[in-house]
């Protein structure tokens, strides 16, 4: 099934261990990619939302990523051809494969898997060596510890080992918090870098009861920022954790902590770093999501660059946002280890004179895996290999998740919930992580875990009224399309099976969802109750973990035909965040 990769054919055995080969190779567009021109005195490398994908993966970028209102047609809300046009990327290129969903299946066969920590390690080491001693930093934007069965079983401990070997200097967090305080602190005790979060505070009750804080005066739980001397300049890195952890996830994981965007505290911190600490540059390592970062950049002054994550947007060029005292560059660096961001800064006294940014796709076929990292990965995964290599089914279609409303992977999860739990309607969260499987690939238990491995995987079956169901859909949809980015949480729409609906994203909450229709053609009635199955509930549940449900379904019936439920969109004609092929 695996064909020779086209760019390998063109470039010969191009590996970074042999740079001479790279330079002499003919496939200039891919090979010169990793020879980043030297610039400035400080190189900041940034990865984010790797979701614990230690090995290279396929990951299809979305064909539906709508921008509504002011965000219509603006990055990151561009897909497929609109994206390629905007950034001048040739449709048949390796870059088009990395950054968009354009003819994904065709190009997945040609260009292969992306990312992988052994491959990332090779690339990161090269770029740090190129920069020179004490002239680089490696930052991770969070969602490093979650996304595989292994990471979930080890509560992220496997990823701390990988992070240490990779050389991560600082990180912030999101899913990291869902393992709870004890596991988080145990991991951080082993982590050699800094965990930064300016926006996590003790609740007043926790402070009153003397819960552990960084310092009682500020009430902050974690170090908010660090200052490093890089290339002769004093560079401050501020951490911004996902602001809505206790809202997007069960509050029981973080009972003592309160989050939020915390603009005002952030501004004070920036001012203090620039004032008393006399730093030359300020970087915000953010897990806000790109729309939130764009708004924040227009309101908080004194930040040179926001290195962003959370929304998994792979955006090749920074967006420059002006504010009252200058401008801030805003980036977002994709997900699943597909990309490594390279920010080269020319930092003078008290200011950044100039900056260059590259978002490098990590083509695993072009990079020789680092031996030490590969050994660590093999060793860490070994105990689970036998159990999780059980083949459950063979995929007869492309299985991906990312997209505002639906994806074939979620169709499979919902079908499993419906049949195994004997429900009328299935709900599945619109997570943006989870690698893509190609048609013809075996589906292992490990692959099911990579779509479902969270610390609250329990399934539920409950009676809900039609009014309740509509209210849930409206609520989740508002978290996605609220006109104010600060009120968006960064996930996608909840996935449904057994129920079709119409969605008008531009409308306000309460008016977006209509025409709710059951699979039997009847309208959903507000006062009637329905049997609903789901998982990842905010309330504690005691049903089987969803991966058991999906595995049982695949073992017994395999992949069933695609779901019949549909989402019909209104008011998005011509939206550059919509590609019709989805």
């Amino acid at each position: 099934m695996i064909r020779r990769r086209d760019f390998l054919k063109a470039s010969g055995a191009a590996v970074l261990a042999a740079p001479a080969l790279l330079r002499s190779a003919r496939a200039v567009d891919t090979v010169s990619l990793y020879d980043v021109e030297k610039f400035g005195n400080a190189r900041i490398l940034h990865i984010t939302d790797t979701h614990a994908q230690l090995r290279p993966v396929f990951f299809r970028e979305p064909s539906v990523n709508l921008g509504i209102g002011e965000m219509w047609g603006r990055p990151p809300h561009l897909v497929e051809r609109a994206f390629l046009d905007r950034y001048g990327i040739r449709p048949d290129s390796a870059e088009a494969y990395a950054f968009t969903c354009f003819e994904f299946e065709k190009y997945a066969g040609r260009f292969g898997r992306m990312g992988g920590f052994a491959h990332l390690k090779t690339l990161i080491d090269k770029l740090r060596t190129d920069a020179g001693d004490h002239r680089s930093l490696l930052l991770d934007g969070g969602d490093l510890w979650q996304g595989t069965g292994l990471a979930n079983a080890m509560r992220g401990a496997d990823m701390v080992s990988a992070a240490n070997l990779l050389g991560i200097d600082a990180m912030t967090g999101h899913w990291e918090f869902t393992y709870g305080e004890e596991a988080l602190r145990a991991n951080l005790a082993r982590f050699k870098g800094e965990f930064l979060a300016q926006n996590v505070f003790l609740t007043e009750e926790a402070a009153f009861n003397d819960a552990k804080a960084l310092d009682p005066g500020s009430g902050r739980v974690f170090k908010p920022a660090m200052i490093r001397e890089i290339g002769g300049a004093r560079i401050a890195v501020i951490g911004q954790a996902f602001p809505y952890v206790p809202i997007a996830h069960p509050r029981r994981f973080t009972p003592d902590w309160t989050f939020g965007i915390r603009e005002e505290e952030l501004q004070k911190l920036v001012d203090a770093l620039r004032g008393a600490d006399k730093v030359d540059a300020v970087i915000l390592l953010s897990h806000n999501g790109m729309d939130v970062d764009l708004k924040l950049a227009s309101r908080v002054t004194g930040i040179d660059v926001i290195l962003g994550g959370h929304t998994h947007d792979a955006i090749p060029q920074p967006v420059a946002v002006t504010n009252a005292k200058g401008a801030t560059l805003v980036t977002n660096a994709g997900s699943n280890g597909k990309f490594l961001a390279v920010l080269d800064l020319d930092v003078g006294k008290g200011r950044v004179a100039d900056a260059r940014y590259r978002l490098l796709p990590v083509y695993s076929e072009l990079l020789k895996p680092d031996a030490a990292m590969q050994a660590l990965i093999d060793q860490t995964q070994q105990p689970q290999v036998a159990a999780w290599s059980e083949k459950l089914a063979t995929s007869d279609r492309l299985l991906y998740r990312r997209g505002n409303f639906e994806g074939p992977t979620d169709d499979v999860i919902c079908a499993a919930l419906l049949s195994q739990l004997d429900a009328q309607i299935a709900l599945s969260p619109g997570f943006r992580w989870g690698p893509t499987l190609l048609a013809g690939q075996s589906i292992m238990l490990e692959d099911v875990l990579a779509q479902t491995a969270i610390s609250y995987p329990e399934t539920y079956v409950q009676r809900m009224t039609g009014a309740d169901i509509k209210a849930v859909l409206e609520d989740v949809c508002d978290n996605l399309f609220n006109a104010d980015p600060y009120l968006q949480q960064g996930g996608d729409m909840v996935r449904l099976e057994g129920l079709s609906y119409r969605c008008a994203p531009s409308e306000p909450i309460g008016r977006r969802i209509s025409d709710l229709t059951l699979d039997n053609g009847r309208s959903l009635e507000a006062g009637k109750t329905y049997k609903v199955a789901g998982w990842a509930s905010m309330n504690a549940q005691d049903g089987k973990p969803v991966w058991d449900i999906v595995a049982a379904h695949l073992r017994s019936v395999g992949l069933t035909s695609a779901g019949t439920s549909t989402v019909t969109l209104s008011g998005v004609d011509g939206n550059p965040g919509f590609a019709s092929q989805s």
Binding site: H174, E204, E205, A207, F208, N209, D210, P216, F242, P243, Y244, V245, P246, I247, A248, H249, R251, T258, F259, G260, I261, E264, G289, H310, T311, H312, P429, G430, F431, R432, W433, A471, V472, D475, V476, D478, N479, N482, Y486, L487, Q489, G490, G491, D492, V494, I509, A536, S537, M538
Partner: protein
């Protein structure tokens, strides 16, 4: 809330903590033993104001006059409530001669959530917890020099879930 104090619990924390306990639930207008004083010009408990369903009627019953927005009032409230049952808010103001501060949650069944009389010489700063059933504007009212000023912020209440 426990009654024991760690080495770091200051008197300020204690007072704040105690006040918070007493005020939780006011948004739902459960007021058997009112812990707050009336904010209007007399010292009677403003039960009529607390009974009003909407914001306009509550302001009218409490103050009998309109309010105007002021940038001298600082209203701290979360963008999205982490728990709609206890939403922490705080108000401070640089307006002079403040005689009362009140909180309105426009979409609550009873809009007036709390009302404080500020005696002369008191720093006009109040922190409170509000119970909110759904997304609503929160209005902080400040009575200063016989005039009524306000600051408004929308606080979203969501069922949550589905973080990317």
């Amino acid at each position: 809330m426990t009654a024991s104090f760690g080495p770091l619990a200051s008197r300020r924390l204690f007072i704040k903590g105690a006040g918070l306990v007493a005020l939780i639930g006011l948004g739902n207008a459960v007021l058997h033993a009112p812990p707050v004083l009336a904010a209007s010009n007399d010292n009677k408990y403003p039960d009529d104001a607390f009974r009003q369903k909407n914001a306009t009627d509550a302001v009218k019953a409490l103050y009998g006059r309109d309010h105007e927005a002021s940038d001298k009032i600082k209203l701290d409230a979360p963008e999205i409530a982490e728990n709609g049952g206890v939403v922490p808010i705080a108000v401070t103001t640089t307006l002079p001669n403040v005689t009362s501060i009140a909180f309105i949650v426009a979409e609550n069944p009873n809009a007036l959530a709390a009302s404080y009389k500020i005696p002369e010489g008191t720093v006009p700063a109040v922190a409170n917890r509000l119970k909110m059933a759904k997304t609503s504007n929160v209005i902080a009212l400040v009575e200063s020099g016989g005039k009524l000023y306000s600051a408004t912020k929308e606080v979203k209440v969501t069922v949550g879930g589905c973080g990317g």
